[in-house]
């Protein structure tokens, strides 16, 4: 009982209701995020419709191995996050498992960022930064890379926030400052993490796959 009261916040009287509200709230926020990334993808779609060849040529220059490995890493992090969140919703003794899975999730997130860092380094060396000295001759190929840097950057910011939230849960949970079992915060963090994953699932074919067939 005292556990439940520890998790309860103003203005709620029952934890269950508070949990529902938190979950509902984060889903509304995720709907908002859908529009956020949707608008970016729309920008990409319009530019690609107007310049299909330049986008194919530009897409060929990306490193598909970095992209694919990173996608696999994020998908795996979603698995560990899903297990953490579903286990925490159960009654059993699951603290160790939840902590381990959360730790793995954060580690995979960091791994993604490291791979991304290597990829960025390579991109810069290949002169794929728009502006003077850009590697490709078509001017519209710069649109692709303008969007590439922006979209991956915004995704990376989201992922960094996600990693911070997960690490916070791990630290607080390990120090027994909060109870992870049944924690609304864990549920909310997990949903956010999965959305960041979903965004990447869409970015993968748009960034790494154009122009491979020709």
């Amino acid at each position: 009982m005292s556990d439940a009261t520890a998790l309860l916040r103003e203005p709620w009287q029952r934890l269950e209701r508070q949990r529902q509200a938190g979950k509902f709230g984060i889903w509304i926020f995720l709907a908002s995020e859908t529009l956020f990334f949707g608008a970016l993808l729309l920008t990409y779609a319009v530019c690609r419709i107007e310049h299909p060849d330049a986008f194919a040529a530009a897409g060929r220059e990306t490193n598909i191995w970095f992209g694919t490995i990173n996608t696999a890493i994020l998908l795996t992090s979603s698995l560990t996050m899903a297990v953490a969140s579903q286990a925490a919703a159960q009654k059993g003794r699951v603290r160790q498992l939840v902590l381990a899975c959360l730790g793995a999730t954060a580690a995979l997130g960091v791994a993604f960022m490291i791979v991304k860092g290597f990829e960025y380094k390579e991109d810069i060396e290949k002169h794929l930064v728009p502006g003077t000295g850009f590697a490709l001759s078509q001017p519209s190929a710069q649109l692709f890379y303008g969007l590439y840097w922006l979209v991956t950057g915004v995704h990376a910011i989201h992922l960094t926030i996600g990693i911070a939230l997960v690490v916070r849960l791990v630290l607080l949970g390990a120090a027994r400052r909060i109870r992870l079992r049944g924690s609304p915060e864990l549920e909310v963090t997990a949903l956010y993490w999965h959305l960041v994953d979903v965004v990447w699932i869409f970015l993968y074919p748009l960034i790494y796959l154009p122009g491979r067939a020709s």
Partner: protein, 557 residues
């Protein structure tokens, strides 16, 4: 036992109201009480309202003569840009939702607070940060893109502080999203027992619909501004025509937000008016369920019509036809609302307190503004009048004649509840009437000037338009005086006004069943709702009684 004891007043120990529940600065700056946050917002937007107003005063003074007389073109452009940015994002968008919505939403549904009180406070701080960016922009020399930030002017050609201005709007956008999330969750999760969806007051419905629009449209604004920032600051080409970028794409993204934003500004105003008219006509709101459907329809269809801002932009003519049709469609629910407000007066007992004058003024001005919208939905007419003063007049009728009138109506209607003080009624009536006439003097001539071909955002203009500009500027002076008046007498009432009773207007909403001002957690007893709103008289009757049925079954009168 005395009557008072029966009425449940005595058993409670004396407790301070929300204004007196703490007096340190920290108790305000770190508060999570939705009512205090509402006050913080009110102070913030008041400052911005008068900043935006000062900018446009200079513009109107400059426009007295065709070739300008005390401003350079650059200064002029910065002033109207600043006016637009401040008034749209720092006054109109947060005005009714974040002040009255914040204050009233929990009270009206019988909740102790909003669903996420700390998020609520965070959203105010975001507004403040955005505001600091905006003021910095002004102090540093201003921005001259207009509030629309059209590319490639904003990304490649303007030499002014586009970055900080865009950042200001970007940040305040997230405040909007946070507020929207909060209000939607509050409406779903915290309604008092018995407060079913179709017992919600129209104001709650309007705030709910507004929040949905905020949550789903604002992120697209954020993206459009982020793209501008990315191109300008990081040099990432997105809209650069030399590299194949598409400037019209920016307009799509921008208007995908900015048209629904009009509904963010006007839906809450409709909610306010739907509260005030029944109260002062002592009548049930005519066609409550249709009013609900209309507000949801407006919020939804509002996302489908943005292309009518782009009929001359080079947009495909097929797309223009679709947008034109949808723009006509959205006028239908707006018309329904006007008819219903009017019908609500039928066989009432109408008194003309200042909130009612504002509300009736709203109906008239909103109707005028809405009808002028039909001109803009018709492609051939729009081609002629778009980007002229006709459009300026049109949206000021909706946003100033509509939203700002309703804002002042709400301010007077709920002032006793918020502050516990009554304001001087005849001063308020005088201000309301002055505002109405000043407004029409300012903006009615602009319809004509626009039709005759005066483009908007013109520093100098052909001499034949001078007569209209002089009328406008004279009207603006009256309007400015009418806006300053309430500032004076409302401040006066804080110190010298009579104490307000719990329900000075004899209204039916839950907010009137608690004390004025309310206690920190709103209600001493959890309200229990057993009836629909606006029961000013018995079903099927028409005359209003003076003893309406308030929604709280626990509240004995």
């Amino acid at each position: 036992m005395t009557d008072a004891a029966l009425a449940g007043e005595l058993p409670f120990p004396p407790r301070p109201d929300y204004l007196r529940a703490g007096s340190t600065l920290l108790s305000w700056l770190a508060t999570t009480d939705h009512k205090r946050i509402a006050i913080l917002y009110a102070l913030t937007i008041t400052v911005f309202f008068f900043m935006g107003g000062a900018a446009i005063t200079a513009v109107r003074v400059e426009l007295f003569v065709p070739n300008g007389w005390f401003l350079t073109s650059d200064t002029y452009n910065r002033l109207f840009s600043f006016h637009g940015i401040i008034m749209v994002w720092f006054f109109l968008v947060p005005s009714i939702p974040n002040t009255f919505g914040n204050f009233l939403l929990p009270l009206m549904i019988g909740a102790p607070d909003v669903a996420f009180p700390r998020l609520n406070l965070f959203s105010w701080y975001l507004t403040l940060v955005g505001g600091i960016f905006a003021v910095y922009t002004l102090v540093a020399g201003g921005v001259d893109t207009g509030w629309t930030f059209y590319t490639p002017f904003s990304t490649m050609f303007s030499n002014t502080h586009v970055l900080t201005a865009a950042a200001a709007v970007f940040v305040v956008g997230f405040a909007s999203i946070a507020t929207g999330v909060n209000f939607i969750a509050t409406t779903h999760m915290l309604r008092a027992p018995g407060m079913t969806w179709f017992r919600l007051p129209m104001f709650v419905w309007s705030i709910y619909a507004t929040s949905i629009v905020m949550v789903l449209s604002t992120p697209v604004l954020a993206i459009s501004l982020m793209l501008v920032i990315a191109e300008r600051w990081l040099g990432l080409p997105i809209f650069d025509p030399a590299r194949g970028g598409d400037p019209i794409l920016f307009q799509h993204l921008f208007w995908f937000y900015s048209h629904p934003a009009v509904y963010i500004m006007v839906l809450p105003a409709m909610g306010v008016v739907s509260e005030i008219i029944p109260c002062f006509a002592r009548r049930r709101l005519f066609g409550y369920d249709f009013m609900v459907y209309a507000i949801i329809a407006i919020a939804g269809i509002g996302f489908f019509v943005w292309g009518h801002h782009m009929f001359v932009s080079g947009q495909s003519p097929y797309a223009s036809l679709i947008f034109s049709f949808l723009s006509f469609v959205i006028a239908v629910p707006s018309a329904i609302k006007v008819f219903n407000w009017t019908a609500s007066l039928y066989r009432g007992q109408i008194s003309f307190n200042s909130p009612m004058i504002y509300a009736l003024g709203f109906v008239g001005l909103f109707t005028t503004g809405g009808l002028s919208g039909l001109f803009l939905a018709s492609i051939p007419v729009d081609v002629h009048v778009t980007d002229t003063y006709f459009v300026v007049a049109h949206f000021h009728y909706i946003m100033v004649g509509g939203s700002v009138s309703a804002f002042f109506g709400a301010l007077h209607f709920w002032w006793p509840k918020i502050t516990g003080k009554m304001y001087p009624e005849s001063w308020a009536q005088f201000a309301a009437i002055t505002m109405y006439f000043g407004f029409n003097m300012t903006f009615l001539p602009q319809f004509v000037a626009g039709y005759l071909g005066m483009p908007r955002r013109y520093h100098t203009y052909p001499a034949e338009f001078q007569v209209y500009n002089v009328m406008s500027s004279a009207g603006a002076a009256v309007l400015a005086a009418a806006y300053l008046l309430p500032l004076v007498y409302l401040m006066w009432s804080l110190f010298h006004g009579a104490r307000a009773s719990n329900n000075p207007w004899g209204a039916t909403g839950l907010e009137w069943t608690t004390t004025s001002p309310p206690p920190p957690h709103n209600f001493d007893l959890q309200p229990l709702v057993d009836r629909a709103p606006y029961q000013y008289h018995a079903e099927g009757e028409s005359a209003g009684s003076d003893a309406p049925e308030v929604q709280n079954a626990r509240s004995l009168r």
